[in-house]
Symmetry: C2
Subunit: 235 residues, 2 copies
């Protein structure tokens, strides 16, 4: 944001007392805006591996995300086994072929299906790291607080962990691609995780081949950005 | 993260070419870590209003979040009407009383229910701004891309918009509290939004009365942080 509202906890020029929150300044906010802009869904990766320990460090960052009732229901599986990766790629290939067929059926003309066929929707072949993210849907942690009427907030907590990881990765120059064109049951089985865990996301991680501040789907003409003001209503 | 992996797009010391991503440095990453740590769920607000335009600016930032197929399915309702706010508070009071009764039934001893009763779980009375966030579950935008097998990714997109708003607010010294102890149908009706929209979150916004880097539920002894390494598995 451009405006800098006064923060009563931090009068301008005063040093924050011990234990006080850091006063984030305009320069930091500008860089944070850059981070939001350059945090893209990456599907084109360099083969170059990530430094040892990167995935664990990113997962630790992800764990600072908010969670309903402090339930921390996120579970991460780093996928290195080539057989398991092949099963994931096969699930993607099947689901993507079905999606292409559906696009062809739904379209008035063949143009959109042809465009769909040209899109690269996952970097599963090149990305040096694969990270599957699951949710424990009924965690003991949190003691049920906050999720009785909206149980979906448990999965939402895992989503915020993913988004935290995504931003932390982007700040390291590391790209993340969220693959959702998968059969969750196939992934859960291929990775031999507890059957009651639910797949939230399958992430590809690596150095982006071509960093960008515009979504690939926008550059390819698939969809445009909506004016945010059109999505804000007064009640 | 402490480690700074080499970014092949940005050799140290070289100026980024035009159109290249900004090279986020270690100082920025440290501040981003502070932001993640101080982005708390706030339930204690000062009555002081936010500057005019703040909510719209935060919503604009939220709209830079990732969304499945670039579907941008998030919808924001800024709630100012006192009657509608009262209906939301009444829904919270009902749902919270039911949750307290359930805690009392489930507990082996009365201790946890007594602790639950002492927790302040929402700042609905004091927060100067209320923002309800909905998802359009079947948006035309995005043309269905990426959500055929995992339709929940539409709601997940709205969750990432909320998390983006939350971080952007924290960088302005503004607190956000996510209220989920609500009956979604009651909120949708009270706010007279399209009946097929689904409530994702009801947010309270304002200046925090007591900023903290530790979750309130942790300080109150409700739940503890899990070691992130325990939630990372190799496959």
């Amino acid at each position: 944001m451009d405006a800098q509202p006064p923060n009563p906890a931090h009068p301008a020029g005063a040093a924050p007392p011990l234990g006080a929150p850091p006063a984030f300044d305009a320069a930091f906010r500008a860089r944070l805006g850059d981070l939001f802009a350059w945090r893209r869904d990456v599907r084109h990766f360099l083969a170059r591996p990530l430094p040892e320990g990167t995935v664990a460090a990113l997962v630790a960052r992800a764990a600072s995300a908010p969670s309903v009732g402090l339930s921390q229901p996120w579970r991460f599986a780093r996928v290195k086994d080539t057989g398991r990766r092949a099963a994931v790629r096969a699930s993607f290939a099947r689901c993507n072929a079905q999606a292409l067929a559906a696009q062809a059926l739904a379209a008035q003309t063949g143009e959109r299906a042809a465009l769909y066929a040209r899109l690269k929707l996952a970097g599963l072949d090149e990305a040096p790291e694969h990270l599957a993210v699951f949710v424990e849907p009924d965690p003991e942690t949190g003691h049920g607080l906050g999720r009785a009427t909206m149980p979906e907030t448990v999965a939402y907590s895992a989503v915020m962990a993913i988004h935290t990881l995504w931003l932390a990765a982007a700040a390291e120059g590391i790209g993340v691609g969220w693959v959702s064109i998968l059969d969750p049951a196939e992934i859960t089985a291929a990775l031999e995780v507890p059957a009651h865990w639910r797949l939230v996301a399958y992430l590809c991680l690596g150095y982006p081949a071509a960093p960008a501040d515009t979504p690939e789907l926008e550059r390819a003409g698939w969809e445009r950005r909506l004016p945010p003001a059109d999505l804000l209503f007064e009640r």
